[in-house]
Symmetry: C2
Subunit: 137 residues, 2 copies
DNA sequence: GGCATTTCTTACAAAAAAGTACGTACCGAA
DNA sequence: TTCGGTACGTACTTTTTTGTAAGAAATGCC
């Protein structure tokens, strides 16, 4: 999402989605939930992402003040990314998303457990119980 | 988002984002928060959206069982869209998004009030107070 | 000097999403 | 018989996003 990155929205939710949207943003932020991470760690952790994409998404998140970038003046370079105060507040959104998404998954695909669930993904402690199947009347 | 619409995800959040993501989804769902809406109503309400996009997004939301489509066999046709049970649960996510997005907006652009705020947007009753500005140390 | 390590850039190509423009069906009313 | 209103569908173009591949800087170590 090299998105327009406009500063004005007609709706707060759209603003939020612009920050969170994009193919890798949630996954990256997810990794940061367990604490600050180095560029390389993120790169290994978010599997499939290219360096270009990682850098780009991190820049955007930084621009949106969701994460902060700390450069240690060493060689080879060491750069760490961590949530800002504002970014940490996103955890509420994450929790809601996680709960709903979990239910959604169970509904769409009730058989498969979490067989191929990404272990490095943030998961709620509380068991998010799948709700019953909804049948179209 | 004619997205891949894959059924398996490694992360519930990604699943959720796939349902919610896309340029118009949130806006459309937002409108449905105040009750079932007809196709035409949505078209007028979600300003800027084309009929093709509206139809497409509605189809995807329906496919994901977030909304339900009711056809009344009359002429001219009357079609209504409404949240499913599952879709209604998204309101938690909306609330979290709305709160966070609102704070985000105030932080990014603290001066402008809600001058050009879309009146047909769902807004929380409770005042979402902007948090203080965060300065990069 | 040449190499390794880490964190990025940049130019270019491919894929995905969104937009444009126009067409269709239905049936009652004029 | 043509027209109006509603809810779409479809072919094609444009824009946006993502991916590929390569390079670059800084410095300690062999």
């Amino acid at each position: 999402m090299t998105k327009k990155r406009q500063a004005y929205y007609t709706c707060s939710m759209e603003a939020a989605l612009n920050v969170i949207g994009g193919k890798w943003k949630l996954t990256i932020l997810n990794r940061l939930l367990t604490g600050p991470k180095r560029y390389g760690e993120l790169h290994r952790s978010v599997k499939g992402i290219t360096e270009k994409m990682l850098t780009q998404q991190l820049r955007e998140l930084e621009e949106d003040q969701v994460i902060a970038r700390t450069i240690y003046p060493v060689v080879p370079p060491r750069v760490e990314y961590a949530f800002t105060q504002s970014g940490e507040k996103l955890s509420d959104v994450f929790k809601a998303l996680e709960i709903w998404g979990s239910n959604f998954q169970h509904r769409i695909n009730p058989i498969s457990g979490n067989a191929d669930h990404d272990k490095s993904c943030y998961v709620l402690n509380e068991e998010a119980q799948p709700d019953q199947l909804i049948h179209n009347p």
